[in-house]
C-alpha cells in the first residue's frame, strides 16, 4: 500500500447489505487476483463485514468541514468589516451558556480576524441594529462547530473499533458474536453535520444578498460607484442568483437519511446500514457547494471594504 498499489475498480455507495459490503468485496477481489495472496478460512467474513471505508470517507468530510468553518469565519469577518457591523455578537454577555465552549471558540476566531479593525473603536458609524443573518452569524457557525466537536470523537471511536463479528477473546480462547456494526451513531453525526452546513449556507447566502442590496447596506446596490450598470462593483443580479442557486442546491443535500430505514423487517443489517454511505455522499457534495457560497460571501465582503476605502466612507 505504501507504494500506492491500490485496487482501481472499487465502487462505493448504495450498497445493499452491510454499508460497505460491495466496496469491501470489490477491493477483496483484487486480493483474490493476486497469485501471492492466500485467503485463509474465516478471513472472508472479516474482509467483507466492516465499515472502515465509510468511516474514512466521513473523516475526510469532517476535515473539509473543519476547513470550511475557518473559511466561513473569514467570510463572516469580511462581511462584518464591509458592512461596518456592530460587534456586540462578539461580546460574552453571559446571557447564553456555552458548556461546550464551541461559541467561545468561534468568537475568539472572529475577534482575532478583526484585530486592528476600526470597528472596535467607540463612536464609529453604526446602524442601530444589523440584519438578522449578520447578528446570528456567530451562532450559526457555533452550530457547525458544535457538530464537528461532537462528531470527531464518535468517528475516531469507530475508526479504532472492531466493527464486525465474531470477536476473538484471546484470554479464554473464544470466538463470540458481537453485533457492533450498527452505524446509527455515525450516521446521526453525519446527518447533524449536514444540517449545520445547511444553516451555514442559508446564513452566508442571506448575508451576501443583503451586502449588495441597498438599503440593507448603506452602500449602493451591487456595491457599484453609482451607476448600477458599472462593472467596478458586483453585478447584483448575477451574483445573487448564483449564490442562491448554490445555497438551494446545498439544501438539497441536507435531508437526514438515518430514518430512511426499512427497519429490521429482514432481521439483518441489510436494510439500514446503507444510510451511512448515503449521508457521506451527500455531505461530500454539500461541503463543496457551501465552500462556493462562502467564497462568494468573502468576495462580496472584500469588495465592500474596497468600496469604503476608495470612497473614504
Amino acid at each position: 500500500m505504501n507504494t500506492n498499489a491500490v485496487p482501481e475498480n472499487v465502487e462505493y455507495g448504495n450498497s445493499m447489505g452491510h454499508a460497505d459490503l460491495t466496496a469491501n468485496a470489490q477491493a477483496a477481489m483484487s486480493l483474490l487476483a493476486d497469485p501471492n495472496f492466500e485467503l485463509k478460512a474465516g478471513e472472508a467474513t472479516n474482509l467483507l463485514t466492516h465499515n472502515f471505508i465509510s468511516v474514512a470517507l466521513a473523516a475526510q468530510v469532517v476535515r473539509r468541514a473543519q476547513a470550511l468553518l475557518r473559511a466561513q469565519e473569514t467570510a463572516l469577518a469580511l462581511t462584518m468589516e464591509g458592512f461596518r457591523a456592530n460587534l456586540t455578537p462578539l461580546r460574552q454577555v453571559g446571557s447564553r451558556q456555552d458548556s461546550s465552549g464551541s461559541q467561545e471558540s468561534v468568537r475568539k476566531d472572529i475577534q482575532a480576524l478583526l484585530k486592528g479593525s476600526r470597528l472596535w473603536e467607540s463612536g464609529g458609524p453604526r446602524q442601530l441594529q444589523d440584519f438578522l443573518s449578520l447578528r446570528h452569524g456567530i451562532h450559526i457557525l457555533t452550530a457547525l462547530r458544535l457538530k464537528l466537536d461532537q462528531n470527531v470523537p464518535v468517528l475516531e471511536s469507530f475508526a479504532n473499533s472492531n466493527q464486525r463479528s465474531p470477536v476473538v477473546i484471546v484470554g479464554t480462547q473464544e470466538l463470540i458474536s458481537v453485533p457492533d456494526y450498527d452505524t446509527s451513531q455515525v450516521t446521526l453525526g453525519m446527518d447533524g453535520l449536514r444540517q449545520a452546513l445547511g444553516v451555514v449556507a442559508i446564513g452566508s447566502n442571506s448575508r451576501g444578498l443583503k451586502m449588495v442590496s441597498h438599503p440593507f447596506i448603506d452602500l449602493p446596490s451591487g456595491l457599484v460607484a453609482g451607476d448600477p450598470d458599472a462593472f467596478d462593483g458586483i453585478y447584483t443580479r448575477n451574483i445573487t442568483y448564483t449564490m442562491t442557486s448554490l445555497a438551494r442546491a446545498a439544501l438539497m443535500e441536507t435531508t437526514p437519511v438515518l430514518l430512511l430505514t426499512e427497519s429490521y423487517m429482514a432481521e439483518g443489517d441489510e436494510d439500514y446500514s446503507p444510510a451511512f454511505p448515503n449521508s457521506i455522499l451527500m455531505a461530500q457534495k454539500l461541503v463543496g457547494l457551501v465552500e462556493k457560497v462562502s467564497t462568494l460571501e468573502a468576495l462580496i465582503g472584500s469588495v465592500a471594504i474596497e468600496r469604503r476605502v476608495r470612497s473614504g466612507a
Binding site: 500500500m1 505504501n2 507504494t3 491500490v6 485496487p7 482501481e8 475498480n9 472499487v10 465502487e11 462505493y12 448504495n14 447489505g17 460491495t22 466496496a23 468485496a25 477491493a27 477483496a28 477481489m29 483474490l32 485467503l39 485463509k40 478460512a41 474465516g42 478471513e43 472472508a44 467474513t45 472479516n46 474482509l47 467483507l48 463485514t49 472502515f52 471505508i53 468511516v55 474514512a56 470517507l57 473523516a59 475526510q60 476535515r63 470527531v152 468517528l155 475516531e156 475508526a159 479504532n160 472492531n162 464486525r164 465474531p166 470477536v167 476473538v168 477473546i169 484471546v170 480462547q173 470466538l175 458474536s177 429482514a266 439483518g268 443489517d269 441489510e270 455522499l281 461530500q284 463543496g288
Partner: protein
C-alpha cells in the same frame, strides 16, 4: 482481555487502500477534476497502526498520500495470537458463525477447512456486485465513461441463488 478479530488489521490496511482509491474520487464523482494521490513512498510521516490511536487527521493524511503506514510489533503479535484462536476453531470444527459455518439460514452448516476457504472466496465474489457506472470514481467508468464487464459481476450473477439465502445475515 478482548482482542479484535484475527484479521482486523489486514482489513484496516485494505480500508486505507480503498481510501486512496476514493480520496481523489469524490470530486471526480461530481464532475470535478480529481486530484492525483501522491505516492505514500515519498511521505515523510509514518502512521503506526496499533488499533487504538488512529485519528481523523491520520486517516486524511494517509488517504491523501502525506503519510505512509506501518503496523506496530504489538499489533502484529495480537494478530498472531488472535489468529491462533481462529485456527483452533477451524481445526477442531467448532461452530463460529461465518468462520466455520455458512451464513444466514445455513448457519448450522459447518464446513471443513478446505471448503471454508472456497466458501470464503465464493462469498467475496458474490458480494462484489456492481451498483452502477456512475458510482465508480476512479475505475474504468470514470476514466472511459463506460462500464466494464468484470468477473465479479458475472460471478455475482452466477451466485444469485446463494445470495437469496443471505436474507438474514445479521
Amino acid at each position: 482481555m478482548l482482542f479484535e478479530a484475527a484479521v482486523t488489521p489486514i482489513v484496516r490496511l485494505l480500508s486505507v487502500v480503498l481510501l486512496l482509491v476514493i480520496a481523489g474520487a469524490s470530486s471526480a464523482a461530481f464532475g470535478e477534476q480529481a486530484t492525483p494521490v501522491p505516492s505514500p513512498a515519498t511521505a515523510s510521516r509514518v502512521v503506526v497502526l496499533s488499533g487504538d490511536r488512529l485519528t481523523i487527521a491520520d486517516i486524511v493524511e494517509i488517504a491523501e498520500g502525506r503519510a505512509a503506514i506501518a503496523v506496530s510489533a504489538d499489533g502484529m503479535e495480537r494478530i498472531r495470537l488472535a489468529r491462533g484462536v481462529v485456527d483452533r476453531y477451524i481445526n477442531q470444527g467448532l461452530p463460529a458463525y461465518g468462520i466455520t459455518t455458512r451464513y444466514g439460514a445455513d448457519f448450522k452448516t459447518t464446513l471443513p477447512p478446505a471448503a471454508m476457504k472456497r466458501f470464503g472466496r465464493i462469498n467475496i465474489i458474490q458480494e462484489a456486485t456492481r451498483v452502477g457506472c456512475r458510482s465508480s470514481p476512479r475505475g474504468p467508468c470514470a476514466q472511459h465513461g463506460r462500464c466494464s464487464s468484470t468477473a465479479s459481476h458475472a460471478a455475482s450473477q452466477a451466485q444469485a441463488p446463494t445470495w437469496s439465502r443471505r436474507w438474514w445475515s445479521g
